[in-house]
């Protein structure tokens, strides 16, 4: 498969996993973090969780994967795209926790950091691994 399509497929797989993880974390943490409000704040639409999530998902499926392959030659970290994907997603995570934090404060930031980091790393790993598999770029 050609590179952009492989990347988009990777983004879709990563986004599917990310969404499931976010829903699980949201329920598990009894909606105290409000992960979907965080996402809405992150994409600049505070208060509009549905629209915010759609934008977030579209970016995760199309924009970030395409950015990922266009930056491929410049990204550091190992030759394996899955590892590069995790580094790439971790960079987004930094933006995500800063922009989406809102008024969250205190100990809950521990769970906020852990859950969002895990979700982002899983997204990046899946993006890179699926991309590598489909585009047959050897890890």
């Amino acid at each position: 498969m050609n590179r952009p399509l492989s990347a988009i497929a990777g983004g879709a797989a990563g986004m599917a996993l990310l969404s499931v993880m976010l829903v699980m974390f949201e329920v598990e943490t009894r909606s105290q973090i409000g992960l979907f409000d965080v996402i809405a704040r992150f994409v600049g639409l505070p208060g509009q969780t549905a629209l915010g999530f759609i934008l977030f998902a579209l970016a995760g499926i199309f924009a970030w994967p395409l950015l990922f392959i266009s930056l491929e030659n410049y990204l550091p970290l190992w030759p394996d795209p899955a590892v590069r994907g995790m580094g790439f997603a971790a960079a987004f995570w930094v933006g995500f926790i800063i922009l989406g934090r809102g008024s969250l404060s205190g100990p809950i930031l521990i769970m906020y950091g852990i859950t969002t980091l895990l979700a982002h790393l899983a997204y990046g790993f899946t993006l890179g691994a699926v991309y590598a598999r489909l585009s047959e770029e050897s890890p």
């Binding site: 329920v27 598990e28 009894r30």
Partner: protein, 570 residues
């Protein structure tokens, strides 16, 4: 059409179909196997997902167990991290007290029934057949059923969360969700003490009991399979004298399961009847609270040995491989395993020293509880003497074994103190107890699992893991374990009771140290997960079965020979 009629019609047609399928030329035996002599054909395993849902191969089922247990272990770990987050501040500011109650309930249940037990069943499934020279487990189909009962029981036990996920997903579609939201995570403690569990109005408690019952059935099926396999499927060259130590401990633990789990099942059925059908087994007037505690702990205390014996087995099995020596006093390690197996049924009431039981009864339980320290100490001294003067290689599995022994000593000795009635009266239901049993549960049970996962990784995946990262994980875990659970011993001695979301401010510093430790432990688990997944993708392919240089010391044991034969067939 009336939905009941429709349901019955569907059920009847399914049963008819099933009967038509099975009344062919082949005759079924009671265990589901076919009568010998009938012509059979061998087929390749189907590809893809179908392979995994139809498999009766012991290795495949073993892997399924391990994967399920990884998921549940991470889930229970997230529960634990949520509790540690709540405990950073003295006030219950992060989660409500009710949520906190649900957290420690599901953390305990998930970890004991759906994480620790399946890990060892999975390892037993995978490795006991090659270790005893069998082709497969004695009852392959029972094996598959035993595994496939676990996902639905996990679903029932954790239904409160899962139904909420479903409700959240279908809410935008405008479907009714009230019933789904009514099922809330249970908050009755993993010990399910009556009268609370009897009176709780949350409907999830019933599902919780049913789910645990189902998991108990699965566990008993798996245990029977392990026992029969070890008794009847051994190769002629494997006798009781040279049976490996891991199989010995799995055999003993399985024996305990056969005696303990039906007790839990019956006790829970009575509780279900009390809750739903107006029976009075656990009514307060009839001393029901004490009855529940006796029944529960008659299961509950052997349960901890069901978990710890296989871990002892792994330590006893792996330790000699990296010291270049035989296990010191092998025979006595086996005897001590059997002794623990027997004694474990005579200590249950040490969980009830504060209940006002007859002091003479208490004294006898105290004596047996102290006595059980002897076989445990026999093991510990044998491990230390195995290391003594050995040619030690500090590989990741070895660091986990040695670290596990050190944490077990602290966890075990604190347990000896708790066995003493006067000390228990002071420390009962404090953080001291939590610290004590976590130093064993994490300190040796989880450590042994990590040791096994690294030691056997080449067999499980055909690839090698990142050894440096694994060693780092081992050291991080030892530090994390001591840092998380030692402060709990102090908190308990200072008198802080467990199971409260809020606590007086003077305990905050120690609680915070404990949370930092938990974060370190969690980071270690992340390193492990990364190593497992990434090495499976890109780890160096193993071509020589003697990954650990075991031939040199004559310890190239059966499972590695089996692996070598598999490699040579490729």
């Amino acid at each position: 059409m009336n939905p009941t009629v429709l349901f019955v019609a569907v059920l009847i047609s399914l049963v008819t179909l099933a009967l038509l399928r099975t009344t062919g030329s082949k005759r079924l035996l009671a265990d589901g196997g076919y009568i010998e002599g009938v012509e059979t054909t061998t087929r390749e395993k189907p590809a893809g997902i179908l392979r995994w849902i139809t498999t009766v191969d012991h290795a495949d089922i073993g892997l399924l167990y391990l994967i399920l247990a990884t998921v549940t272990g991470l889930w229970g770990g997230i529960d634990a991290m949520m509790m540690r987050t709540e405990l950073v501040t003295p006030e219950a500011t992060v989660w409500t007290a009710e949520t906190y109650n649900a957290l420690f309930t599901v953390h305990g249940t998930t970890m004991l029934f759906f994480f620790a037990t399946p890990v060892f069943t999975g390892l037993a499934n995978y490795f006991i057949p090659p270790l005893v020279g069998a082709d497969d487990m004695a009852f392959p189909r029972v094996n598959a059923i035993a595994f496939w009962l676990l996902p639905p029981s996990l679903f029932l036990v954790r239904a409160g969360l899962i139904t909420e996920v479903i409700a959240k997903v279908i809410t935008p579609l405008g479907l009714p969700t009230r019933a789904l939201f009514a099922i809330e995570p249970p908050a009755i403690g993993w010990t399910m003490y009556t009268p609370l569990s009897r009176a709780a109005t949350n409907p999830e408690v019933d599902l919780f009991l049913l789910g645990l019952h189902l998991s108990g059935i699965a566990t008993v099926l798996a245990a029977s399979n392990i026992i029969v396999t070890i008794f009847t499927e051994r190769d002629s060259s494997v006798n009781w004298a040279n049976l490996d130590i891991f199989s010995w401990t799995m055999l003993t633990a399985s024996g305990l399961i056969i005696f303990a789990f039906p007790m839990l099942g019956s006790a829970m059925i009575m509780l279900l009847l009390d809750r739903n059908f107006g029976t009075f087994f656990y009514s307060l007037e009839a001393g029901g609270a004490a009855l529940w505690q006796h029944l529960f702990w008659f299961f509950g205390h052997p349960e901890v040995y069901i978990l710890v014996l296989p871990a002892f087995g792994i330590v006893s099995y792996v330790l000699p491989k990296f010291t270049g020596r035989k296990l010191f006093g092998f025979k006595f390690v086996v005897y001590s395993t059997l002794a623990i197996g027997v004694l474990s049924f005579g200590v249950w009431a040490h969980h009830m020293f504060t209940t006002g039981m007859d002091p003479r009864l208490k004294a006898s339980f105290m004596a047996v509880s102290l006595a059980i320290a002897v076989p445990s100490a026999v093991k510990t001294f044998n491990w230390i003497t195995t290391i003594y003067n050995g040619k030690i290689r500090l590989t990741a599995p070895m660091i986990f074994c040695v670290g596990g022994i050190s944490t077990f000593i602290v966890g075990g000795v604190t347990g000896v103190f708790l066995a003493s009635i006067p000390i228990d009266l002071l420390l009962h239901d404090t953080y001291y107890v939590v610290g004590h049993f976590h130093l064993i549960l994490v300190g040796i049970i989880v450590f042994a699992m990590f040791a096994a996962s690294y030691f056997w990784y080449p067999i499980l995946t055909g690839r090698m893991f990142n050894q440096r990262l694994a060693r780092a994980h081992a050291w991080v875990s030892i530090v994390g374990t001591f840092l998380t659970f030692s402060p709990m011993l102090l908190l308990g001695m200072m008198g802080l009771p467990r199971r409260y979301a809020a606590y007086p401010a003077e305990f905050a510093p120690l609680q915070q140290v404990s949370t930092v430790g938990a974060l370190i432990l969690f980071a270690g688990v992340g390193m492990w997960l990364w190593n497992m997944i990434q090495s499976y993708r890109v780890g160096a392919v193993v071509t020589d079965a003697d990954v650990w240089d075991l031939r040199e010391t004559g310890q190239f044991s059966r499972e590695w020979e089996w692996f070598e034969r598999k490699l040579s067939r490729k």
